[in-house]
Amino acid sequence: MWKTRSGVSDMKLRSSIIFLFVLLGWCISIPAGSGSFSVSPVWAASDDVVAVTAEEQGTLSDEEAAEPALPEGPTAAAVTEDPSDADFEDEDEPANLEQDNGNGVPALADPIEPFNRAMYQFNDKLYFWVLKPVATGYTKVVPEGARVSVKNFFTNLAFPIRFVSCLLQADFTCTAQETGRFFLNSIWGVAGLFDVASMEGVNLPKQDADLGQTFGVWGIGQGFYIVWPVLGPSSPRDTLGTAGEFFLYPVTYLNPWYVPSAARAYEIINDTSLRIGDYEALKGAAIDPYIAIRDAYAQYRYKKIEKKRLKLSAPAPTPAPAESIK
């Protein structure tokens, strides 16, 4: 059951690991501190701004000496050209508008936008042509309660990912809570089918921890935006996280060779069945769905890491009240 994998997948694994290390190298060579890199080609959404090199920035800032520190590009220039614009000196978000698009979230660079847009199209079709029809059919056969249980089961199984992430973040309340949850749900929750730990009275909700977030907490920047086929929005950092999670996820080690993929596919269908309509709404609300999803991903990941950093940097009082606030 838990033996090593067959030679073929070993080869595949090895090449993907090498690829990932190349990506990691790229990522680490970027000045850390999450914000610093992402701020530069902020507006790199249009093809003509994609590769704003340092020299270009230099020449441009000669012309516009007033704002030399800012990323240059049509929007950046346009956005800053009106310094008298006092209306938007937001009292609550000072100076954010130029630097990082407001809201304190640095925009995510997108140097490989054409590739990403193609992958986005692929995933979009995958959803509408495959995932949604299958999940809809599945919904008709399996009642919602059972599907929620399946989801709980997989979530419980992914415990090592959250446990190791919490540990690597040195977030020990998180580690303890996850461990407690795992035992409670595995034993009283019938192998994780029921999330008894989240119920009122027990109050051990699932910890929001993953490896990509851990790297972020360590100060590794997001890098740039990548859309993977099937897996969706990511970045070099989060890709590395996903790869690490692959090894921490017990399902990976199941035999024979096709079981892990089948289990993953089933998990994806099950998850989709509980979220039908969400993507449609997101897409329907968007003016440019590709940009909307990229921005949502950037915001989501950024805030997830910021929240963790805040939690970790907060002076740890007695653990009890900290948990009750959570």
């Binding site: 929007t75 956005v79 003016i287 440019d288």
Partner: protein, 197 residues
């Protein structure tokens, strides 16, 4: 007659004291969301036929709850000034229509999920954020409302769903379009979008 007078007096006191008493941001959200739920749960409004009536009543709550102007301005941020006043007006109208077209159906699909109103935090005397959670069968979705004090009332100008700010999300998209095109083109895209749905 005398009774009438007293009643009128009481009514007047109630009516005129309302603007003086400013509800806290959390209370404001609670009241408005509960009004939305009331509409959605109204047994008299069942089925497809009542859908328009429901939308009509939700729109009334929306106007009371949101500061549409602020929401639009923030979504365009500095680009707002690039639009002529007429363009700005049209933008607000189109943006409203797009939001309504997308979210009305989502809101009408509500199935008695639990909502918890957790807390508020004052960012400044005129800015606040209210934290709520929405419980679906399988997940807990944090929804935050950002409010600003307008004429003694707290009004929503941004919604943050699962850490994603609606205003910022649109700002990124509008910025992307306006970095390559004049404002008229943006309005054109919005007009088409409204017509589609």
């Amino acid at each position: 007659m005398k009774k009438h007078l007293i009643l009128t007096a009481i009514l007047a006191v109630i009516l005129f004291s309302v603007p003086v008493y400013a509800a806290t941001p959390l209370e404001t959200i609670k009241v408005n969301v509960n009004q939305v739920l009331e509409v959605l749960r109204d047994p008299a409004l069942k089925g497809q036929a009542a859908k328009e009536t429901k939308k009509e009543r939700l729109r009334a709550v929306y106007y009371k709850m949101f500061d549409e102007m602020e929401l639009s301005k923030r979504s365009l941020s500095r680009n707002w000034k690039k639009l002529t006043p007429e363009q700005q007006q049209e933008f607000v109208r189109l943006f409203h229509q797009i939001l309504e077209n997308t979210y009305a159906d989502r809101i009408l699909a509500y199935k008695n999920e639990k909502i918890s109103f957790d807390r508020e935090s004052r960012v400044s005397p005129t800015q606040a954020e209210v934290f709520t959670r929405f419980f679906t069968s399988s997940a807990e979705i944090p929804i935050n409302y950002r409010l600003t004090l307008v004429g003694g009332n707290w009004k929503v100008y941004d919604i943050v769903i699962e850490n994603v700010s609606l205003v910022q999300n649109y700002r990124t998209q509008f910025n992307d379009i306006l970095s390559k095109n004049p404002p008229e083109k943006l309005l054109d895209i919005l007009r088409k979008k409204v017509k589609q749905s």
